[in-house]
């Protein structure tokens, strides 16, 4: 296991002003007032945290760093530690009603939005999932159950892959006869989802973190949006 380097000279290539700017963006999030109330350093969050058992990771360090407004340390954590969090929110049992998990959600979002190299690295190999959820409206699909995708799930995955078409038809709910999506989703519904991605700036966010994926998504969406009569998808 790699030890977490919390020394302040780890990211000397990034100016303090830039670190402060990113931290300010974290603090300006509309959820900020609900997720941090100070920290007793009691460690209850660490005791409850699954990631703390397996990684050099501590929700207490996260809460402390942001509570002390230590922009250097916040940047260090934003560049590494935050991606170890399991997002289970076991740390919500904090006696000060802090939510280190929610603080991390915001920090991750800022890291992605600003295209931090470490965020790009953390999302390596994850692009196919983003593509699936953004383009189809369901995150995992039956056809993902392939042996090369899940080698650690054993021979059982081979059996599913071999029988996929028939086993899906052997499901009584008709909405579940699909293989490329979890269930049958209307075209109109997908169009509405695409419009939401465009209107909320999520497409811009994807462009910043993975340009290749962005281009593919634009291709897929543009065609379907045009078919649905949306030639101009510019929103104010």
């Amino acid at each position: 296991m790699m030890a977490l380097d919390l020394s302040q000279n780890k990211h000397t290539d990034v100016s303090f002003e830039e670190k402060e700017r990113l931290f300010d963006e974290v603090k300006s999030d509309s959820r900020w007032d609900f997720v941090l109330n100070g920290c007793y350093e009691c460690g209850i969050c660490v005791a409850a945290c699954p990631s703390a058992r397996f990684y050099d990771f501590s929700p207490r360090v996260i809460a402390q760093a942001v509570a002390r407004e230590d922009a250097d340390l916040v940047y260090t954590l934003m560049s590494d530690s935050i991606w170890d969090c399991s997002q289970c929110f076991s740390c919500d049992r904090c006696p000060r009603q802090n939510s280190p998990g929610q603080i991390i959600t915001i920090m991750r979002e800022v890291a992605v939005k600003n295209g931090l190299q470490t965020a790009k690295k953390a999302l390596e190999g994850y692009g196919r999932i983003i593509y699936k959820i953004m383009s189809t409206g369901s995150q995992v699909s039956p056809d993902m159950l392939q042996p090369d995708a899940f080698p650690d799930w054993g021979t059982h995955v081979y059996e599913i892959a071999e029988n996929l078409e028939v086993w899906r038809k052997a499901l009584p709910p008709e909405t579940l006869h699909t293989t490329e999506t979890g269930w049958k989703i209307d075209k109109k519904t997908i169009i509405e989802l695409y419009l939401i991605w465009h209107m909320t700036g999520v497409m811009d966010l994807i462009e910043g973190v993975d340009e290749g994926l962005f281009m593919i998504l634009v291709d897929v969406m543009e065609e379907r949006l045009e078919e649905a009569g949306y030639d101009d998808i510019t929103f104010d």
């Binding site: 509309s30 397996f54 289970c88 994850y126 995992v140 799930w153 038809k169 579940l176 989703i185 509405e192």
Partner: protein, 395 residues
């Protein structure tokens, strides 16, 4: 120094009074916003049951007119989970709606990658709620994460005017209203509300079964005041969900020390860092259950939990870990107790860990029922049938 009298833990009783709740009842603010014309509230249908939540507030659980907000993981990889929920509805002749005008809540992706934002998350949620409202049904959420996430979204939309304004504008562009349900209800709460009716129609004796329960993190840790508790179950010191259902079926629910731990899913971990998911699931959950209880089955109520606890055991076995506990959802256990077919309805062939010893222990002829399922598959393969119907599933 004042010495307080010492009371044995077993003699201590905690009186739950909603007036002492540390958090406000969100519904009051919700209805106030409706009065002010800010949004529209989707009412729980008249046919509902009230169950107690953590701080004593009674929560309305709809029995019928339910709009089933399906789950990516359940429908994609463990489809017997949702099939069992539908089967139970059909057995009781309840009016339910299985929509195609529904997207994922997209929260799995959000918690995994942060490639979204609060406006998008809230808009996706409200779009789905509006779709339910437009056809006159009430949303029943299948996934634990969707449930937790939607509770968070509702909380944010009630308390953040700016977010509400943005989402309302998006909904207007989609030709929809900003609607929020009076209650955010998880399917396992519906199963719990139905437990006595299910037990009345139980045909398989499960009194020789010992089960462990894993309560899903996003069910009882996010907006904790909205989870179901019961004074008769763990003294209302932890959620009654799933445990209450299993006890009604006569199952012995055994405790284990790591019940609060997560399953190891981790959102991004199960997809791109599975070494963590496998290790945590096996070492902190399955091995502990095995050593402390050695249950016949472990039961949970969420997409990720069933998947992680079940699939991770394959690697654990390869490393001679103490594994081998079949994993099911409460909906599958309830359907099984009522005589649902283990393969046509529960679809247990999609699960990984061997569940045949458990099925045999409750008197099921595994070879026979597998043969019946295979016969249906053969009809589909030969073109005799396009797909298996609900009627086929019950024959």
């Amino acid at each position: 120094m004042i010495h307080l009298p010492i009371t044995k833990a077993s003699d201590r009783h905690f009186k739950i009074d909603p007036n002492d709740a540390p958090v406000a009842d969100l519904r009051e603010e919700l209805f106030q916003l409706e009065k002010e014309g800010e949004l529209e509230v989707i009412r729980v249908p008249d046919n509902h049951v009230e169950l107690m939540t953590k701080y004593g507030r009674m929560k309305k659980i709809p029995i019928d007119k339910t709009w089933h907000h399906k789950s990516c993981g359940q429908c994609g990889h463990i489809p017997g989970y949702s099939t069992s929920i539908f089967w139970l509805n059909r057995q009781f002749g309840l009016d339910y709606y299985d929509p195609t005008d529904q997207t994922s809540c997209t929260a799995w992706n959000y918690y995994a990658s942060a490639t979204s934002n609060p406006e998008a998350q809230a808009a996706v949620a409200v779009r789905n709620f509006a779709a339910a409202h437009e056809v006159g049904y009430f949303p029943l959420i299948h996934c634990g994460t969707s449930f937790g996430h939607y509770k968070e979204v509702r909380h944010a939309l009630i308390h953040q005017h700016d977010l509400r304004r943005k989402v309302k504008k998006i909904m207007e562009r989609l030709g929809k209203k900003l609607v929020l349900p009076e209650e955010i209800v998880h399917y396992s709460e519906w199963v719990l509300a139905m437990k006595d009716r299910i037990a009345e129609r139980q045909v398989i004796d499960m009194s020789n079964i010992t089960a462990t329960v894993h309560p899903a993190c996003h069910y009882h840790k996010l907006i904790e005041e909205d989870a179901i508790y019961d004074s008769e179950i763990y003294g209302a010191q932890r959620t009654a969900i799933v445990t209450g259902t299993l006890e009604a079926l006569g199952i012995n629910v055994a405790d284990y020390s790591t019940w609060f731990d997560c399953c190891g899913f981790g959102f991004r971990h199960i997809l791109v860092s599975r070494d963590f998911s496998r290790s945590f699931s096996v070492q902190r959950k399955i091995e502990v259950m095995k050593e402390e209880v050695n249950p016949d089955v472990t039961v949970t109520h969420d997409t990720g939990c069933v998947t992680t606890l079940d699939q991770s055991q394959f690697a654990g076995r390869a490393h001679d870990k103490k594994v081998g506990i079949p994993v099911m959802a409460d909906s599958q256990m309830a359907a099984l107790a009522m005589g649902a077919h283990p393969y046509k309805v529960l679809q247990l062939h999609w699960h990984n860990t061997d569940n045949k010893p458990f099925l045999r222990k409750i008197g099921i002829d595994v070879d026979k029922v597998w043969g019946e399922f295979q016969a249906e598959c053969d009809k589909i393969k030969s073109g005799e049938k396009n797909f298996m119907t609900w009627e086929d599933a019950d024959n």
